[in-house]
Symmetry: C2
Subunit: 341 residues, 2 copies
């Protein structure tokens, strides 16, 4: 079974964008506020909207995508905390509907109603709702709700502890995923995403978060940002800081996905990061939409790269494509077991 | 000849730190300002201070290091523009003295008196001084003078054009190198440096800077941050943005160094980045000081990694170790030619 742990709903119906425009226009002119949070999107429209994902899933040999709202769309820095809460509820509800309509193809992961400067504690009600009532198996946690100015405390700060406590209690992993950037220095998918990944990993080296939360699990997307390419640097920095080897110190709790869009990158990832810490993912339809002229295949068809890596045995591939996902997302495993998969 | 294009003066005498303390203390209490910018450091003390670098250079088979002030020490965000100017002059003068005392081992690269929110135009007098009067062959340009809040415009903005004009006129390349971070989210050598590299490269994809400055040359250090690991992502993003292939669009002007501290990273770098765009560097004595227990050698002994890469022929190695440096730093080439090297 091939599980893609990183898919976003990037093909939303126009009605969602129209709602968002009205919601944000309402900040400036309350007369423009949307009258209702009912978007009037039919089941048929929802199913139709994810046809691109289903087509790629089938063509590329995938079975199941862990599906969450568009990462760039979370935009936690926009508006007010109330706006973030309303928007998050709507986005999560759409994901829930899609995953209920197409349970063989999609499993839900949610966004959180974060807002810069506000305690992540305030996200707990929505986290509990989507996990316990709607059956979500994970969440995306934004390490920079400011959208590129990094004004909230680092992930190792006690500021974040309330949400970690709840994640552990619910047995839900978090993908550490920034949203869009309102800082003109950071292109969102080309700089902010990758920097967010690199930054989060380095914060984890600095702190000792997993001493306090031994069962907390983080997935760092986009192959871990710059981390595997600079694995010697990170091993060396940890050593200079008198930390234990990274495999012991962080890799019981930290996992990387395979959203790296060329074979040499995937080869490096699988060479330096233990196979138990790599989860298959493509983030399609996402950051890079084209076909690589060097291969004739889509850049984000990452399964092809993983399949081409030499020295990965059958057991390794099973871990990357399915086993690790079921271990890191225990609620996914239970869900699949219940369905006989 | 082995040229290491990335060395910082990280072993400064105590007198420099004492001066800096007084200089910054003077911001709060003018009575504490240093009485003079003469630090009273003798030539003997200066030569002694770079013994660690000379020892490593010899042991590792290096011949020449392109040497600049400590990158983290530039700290452009600290104090006032006047503080930055005074501090920069002092740091550059020390580099000049060292390179004059030890001309066979070190060639000078300077820092610029940048300050957040201030036009880089103000750096031109110091740039002219160090290049035309002191014989410096390059400069470090900080893309984020705010020290981790990224409040100045991106590198492709006209804000930066005056300094680019002067760099072109003087035939001097810039290494795009951030300084220390005052943002607690960014560990300086583990996150801010690498993010700075990644961010700069993505900015260059977004703009079309080298159309306006066809002879401008940038070195992106630390192996280009996350860029080579995500080379497929960057090729794909450029393609989605209707840019020409990156080799044509950027690689006539952008170069990467080899400050990547493990063999798999260097293997990836040399696999995806054309050999004409890779310059040997180690950044010793720098970010990572320890010995890698997996190899028994220093992490930052990057020559060992380059030497181990298969498929690099003699001509390739000559380019990486010497030829590219002489091409990217034309003033270095002239200097060496004059000295018969």
């Amino acid at each position: 079974m091939i599980i893609d742990i990183h898919g976003h709903y990037t093909t939303e119906p126009q009605a969602l964008h129209t709602f968002r425009d009205k919601q944000l226009a309402g900040l400036a002119d309350s007369a423009r506020k949307p009258g209702s949070t009912d978007l009037g999107i039919s089941d048929e429209v929802l199913v139709k909207s994810v046809e691109p994902q289903l087509k790629f899933q089938k063509e590329r040999g995938g079975d199941l995508t862990i599906f969450s709202p568009r990462a760039g769309g979370m935009a936690h820095h926009v508006g007010t905390e109330a706006v973030s809460i309303e928007w998050t509820t709507i986005c999560n509800d759409l994901i829930h509907r899609i995953c209920t309509l197409l349970p063989d193809s999609f499993v839900s992961v949610g966004q959180l109603p974060q807002f810069p400067g506000v305690s992540p504690k305030n996200c707990i009600p929505e986290l509990e709702r989507i996990v316990t009532k709607l059956g979500f198996v994970g969440v995306n946690l934004n390490p920079d709700p400011s959208g590129g100015y990094w004004t909230d405390p680092p992930l190792i700060d006690r500021h974040w502890y309330p949400i970690y406590e709840k994640l552990c209690e619910l047995e839900v992993p978090a993908m550490i995923h920034v949203s869009s950037s309102c800082n003109p220095n950071f292109h969102h998918t080309g700089a902010h995403y990758i920097n967010g990944d690199t930054t989060a990993f380095m914060q984890l080296i600095q702190g000792n978060l997993f001493k306090d939360f031994p069962t907390l699990k983080f997935v760092i997307p986009h192959g871990g940002g710059a981390v595997p390419f600079h694995w010697g640097r990170y091993r060396g920095l940890a050593q200079d800081m008198k930390r234990p080897p990274l495999t012991e110190y962080l890799l019981k709790n930290v996992f990387f996905d395979t959203c790296v869009y060329h074979l040499p990158g995937i080869e490096l990832l699988t060479k330096v990061i233990p196979v138990d810490n790599i989860l298959f993912a493509s983030e399609m339809v996402g950051a890079v939409k084209g076909i690589d002229p060097q291969t004739g295949h889509y850049y984000d068809d990452t399964k092809r790269y993983v399949d081409q890596v030499k020295n990965l045995g059958e057991k390794d591939l099973h871990k990357i494509f399915e086993g690790n996902a079921r271990r890191v997302y225990p609620r996914l495993d239970k869900l699949l077991a219940k369905r006989g998969r």
